[in-house]
Symmetry: C2
Subunit: 348 residues, 2 copies
DNA sequence: CTGAAAGCGCTTACAG
DNA sequence: CTGAAAGCGCTTACAG
């Protein structure tokens, strides 16, 4: 059962391949092909079950209708959500997604060059990690359509869409402060990424605005250590134990929040009576969790959709309704598990 | 900055394209090309930064080095884990992954035909859902390499790899029974899939073996209703409330477990004192959860790796160390959150 | 209005 | 040992 080719259709319809191609690509009237002939060709194509070979089209046109998606890790709710939505949306524009996760590359020292070298993708959506700057610059220099998600490099002028980290943390801090919390700790990681800096800054600003000191209230884990789960837990545990009068802790990432949960569990602390917790959540992980935790939730759907639109803009598709924007910040939602009642006032 | 082509390399090296092709494809000595010439060509290629155009290779050879991955939903820990591992492993064999989720298709009535019609993939790894039988048959008839994951159709002879559902539930039930639980409920969904049947059967067999009745202890949600989260929760809630002397509940899927948690929360029941819970977990979702829950965990990594190996076998790669096996069942792990101490004996 | 021809970048019989 | 040539299945100037 061989596939029927365009040439087959031409033969059967008794016309030349070019005519078939024009008709099938909707250029019939542009080429002034008679309605009669056009519809006859359409019919034959349909009857024979003709589907153009995308590989041949790609070779000829230089377009593959495939987008490269580079995420940190496909497992993990946030990135999985992003991927799912991007795939859905891309399909609407006739694009497929091939994805690569960078988690190994970073460790094995492999770059996403491997990805780049396969230049059969029409565009890239990338969640940047430190050290990827060079690769992205090459892409840009190569005139490849690129959109960054979740983070960006201040030095590189490329469209990116991410949650408004500063505003998110601010919202969360305001909420905590309003609830009466004063001694609020902040646990972060020394990843050299803008979003981490923004989050820390917002925390500091929020505290300062209230005239609250942040001395000894910030724990910054080393990135390498953080990944050693046990080491991370011990550092957080020690931080929680040795910080006097701690009333609440803000975890700057979802992963840190998990470390925090384990620490709290080990210390036998009760949420939120002994300690309240607030997390800049990757996504909706904490929906599983019992009350006593406040989450800043990132709107994965909005981020993903926007990123794809920005890419479509570059590819000349889409509605261009985003104009010349190259940076979009999306306000985060504030999610509180179990309603705010679970975050009691603190007796000062 | 145009890409260098094979022809360019040939010109620069002063040989014909064929020679370059042979050398670069490691057929130098097979074609009796002199070492000197070969290494010279290699050098030029390297110096010019030559990378073969995969699209051209694909058109010529009919192979794309791309595998199609069809999962139910990419968001969701289990499938995300599967995807990640498959991507990793596939990369080792030089394959990329393009994936499609079926969650929409099912609803919108679209089949994965869209996927099929793009026949530029070399093989398929598919998580089957009801109604996909016909598509899979076509693939087989078309001689496409296919491996099913997580489920299979008894009527179709195609390699598949999944967890041993029966044994998994058996293990879990034995554990509960050993702990002293007798009135154990079972919540499932009327999905017409082998794995669901196996799970129910194991529950029934386990109970029967102990001479325990299962009358009124099984709740089967309608698939459509299950998806309406609120309806599902209400049904489970009502089941929990109206089943007298219920000591424990076995949830047949992860999603059902989530409904169960919400129900338990709403009823104000305390885990595991008022009610113990056991879940056939999609993956490691419940690692987040507090003690009192027992999980049957599916070994995503093993499943994914095995599936890929089976596919590589069909593609003529790999080690063929799986022989002629076309069905692999993997024993599930039994994971108990917070150690078994959290599952107290029941006073009968 | 329509067809013959070139060419996208490779691979691989085939002929020396 | 090496090169000229065909061909994978399309698209698109170009010539009628």
């Amino acid at each position: 059962m061989k596939r029927v080719s365009l040439k087959d259709i031409a033969r059967i319809a008794g016309v030349s391949p070019s005519t078939v191609s024009f008709v099938l690509n909707g250029k019939a009237k542009q080429m002034r092909i008679s309605e009669t002939l056009a519809s006859k060709i359409m019919e034959v194509a349909k009857k024979e079950g003709y589907h153009p070979n995308p590989v041949a089209v790609s070779l000829r046109t230089g377009k593959s209708q495939i987008l490269g998606l580079v995420v940190e890790t496909i497992s993990g709710n946030f990135f999985a959500s992003l991927s799912r939505i991007i795939e859905e949306e891309a399909a609407r524009f006739g694009y497929k997604i091939v994805y690569t996760s960078t988690e190994n590359n970073r460790q094995k020292g492999k770059e996403l060059i491997g990805m780049l070298s396969q230049r059969q993708v029409d565009g890239y959506i990338i969640t940047p990690t430190p050290g990827m700057e060079q690769d992205i610059k090459e892409l840009i220099a190569d005139n490849k359509p690129v959109v960054l998600m979740d983070s960006y490099f201040p030095g590189i002028d490329v469209p990116h869409v991410l949650v408004n980290n500063y505003e998110g943390v601010m919202k969360g801090m305001s909420h905590m402060i309003e609830k009466g919390y004063r001694r609020i700790g902040f646990v972060t990681v020394d990843l050299n990424l803008v979003q981490m800096e923004e989050r820390l800054k917002a925390y500091q600003d929020a505290m300062q605005k209230e005239g609250l000191s942040t001395d000894n209230l910030v724990l910054t884990l080393k990135y390498e250590e953080e990944k050693e789960k046990e080491i991370g837990i011990q550092q957080v545990t020690s931080f929680l134990k040795n910080t006097p009068d701690l009333e609440a802790v803000f975890f700057a990432t979802n992963y840190l929040g998990l470390l925090g949960l384990e620490s709290i569990h080990r210390l036998g602390l009760k949420l939120p009576d002994d300690l309240a917790m607030i997390v800049f959540d990757d996504h909706d992980v904490f929906r599983l969790y019992p009350p006593g935790i406040t989450c800043i939730r990132q709107p994965a759907e909005e981020i993903a959709k926007t990123a794809l639109e920005l890419l479509m803009d570059q590819l000349g598709k889409g509605n261009n309704n985003l104009g010349g924007e190259t940076k979009l910040e999306i306000s985060p939602g504030l999610v509180i598990r179990g309603t705010t009642e679970y975050l009691p006032k603190v007796n000062k």
